[in-house]
Symmetry: C2
Subunit: 222 residues, 2 copies
Amino acid sequence: MIRRHPLAEQAAEELLRRIGRGEWALGAKLPGETTLAAQLGVGRSTIREAVRELAGRRVLESRQGAGVFVIALQAAEDWDKVLRKADITDVLEGRLAIETEAARLAASRRTPADLKNFRYTLADRKRAAVNAPDDWYIEADLAFHRAVVTAAHNAVLTELFDTFVPRIRRAMIDMLKLDEEHRHRHDQAAHEAIADAIRAKDPDLAAARAREHLSAVRSSVG
Amino acid sequence: MIRRHPLAEQAAEELLRRIGRGEWALGAKLPGETTLAAQLGVGRSTIREAVRELAGRRVLESRQGAGVFVIALQAAEDWDKVLRKADITDVLEGRLAIETEAARLAASRRTPADLKNFRYTLADRKRAAVNAPDDWYIEADLAFHRAVVTAAHNAVLTELFDTFVPRIRRAMIDMLKLDEEHRHRHDQAAHEAIADAIRAKDPDLAAARAREHLSAVRSSVG
DNA sequence: GCTATCAACTCCTCAGACAAGCTGACAACT
DNA sequence: AGTTGTCAGCTTGTCTGAGGAGTTGATAGC
């Protein structure tokens, strides 16, 4: 699908380029709307929308009466884009880092509520592995993995995992297309084993089993 | 009533609230600009700027002739904000997850250039530990840790580490203020040990030493 | 030296006009 | 029946002009 970029978006990209080239330093004030509009050969409202877009990306900040200022030299990492461009193996290794450590922490911090969560999500996953459509199975699988991460009770790890979820989902969809036999759906035991180790409060075992499971996944795609 | 925020920003927040409440589902089309303007009691260009801001935050997407569509149910987390709010131990545990895995991978992937990088950054760190100002020492320390992560040759892990860097830097500044004796500067040996394990191509040892070092840091602040 | 005033600058908001693009309905054709 | 062409009515995109509101720095007066 082709997509024509509106002038305002092009103007935003142009401003971003100029900031990146150092035309305006951090904290510097941009020229006025009318000046910029004349420079880029567009209308004032177009410039306003471009500035507004970069404000949404936390690059610019406009103060009424004062001007428009640079508050960041480049757009905050768009993680979704970073992960989309990254190699699947790299993403899986990132996931491995997060989930093994989460499993380790979960083993010492899991609450009864976490255990109940494991039971539910594992039961769901077991049902979905049999005859559910691909997307049901994927969501059930992700739900269990997320349950493990939340059981670590660490906000940063949870956020990191959630950042990965869209990319994981896409990767699983691709994998399932190449896997008519549904072979990978049979690793329910590996998931139960991770939950068991966390339930048994064995950090090293939980981490080892999480590592083993994700290493297997990495091998199957690499 | 004092308006702290421009109307366009208020309109953007209002739209975000409505999306969060489920008024418009993922992929749904918002009412037209004129309709929204009437609903919120503002002009059309104000609505346009609000939409543009949310487009910058990757929540909305507008297609000429078709309408404005929801492409994410909530704004992508501003990582800098997340890390600022996160408890320092949470951040350290996230860092531990990334760096131990990076050390493990680095042990099997490190190149001669990586080893040279270790030598340089370790030497810098050693000099800085003696009598350099705090900020020099911090940068030297971070440079070595980054060298370890880059030696893993995984773009996702490197990006993750770079995301953490500002938070780590702030945390170290805080720590140094409470540490007049510069006791922590004496852990040069621990850093050398990590580099040695990677140089010796021993993944488990490298991971263990990285874990040990970062666990010690976590204990010292927790 | 200090303060009050003010003019010039900035962004903010609105309204109106027209261009450009999309969608669905319907007619015409194969 | 199925396909294609046309078009009206919607949508967003862009520009312009006008006035409102806030900030800043120079200047006059003390």
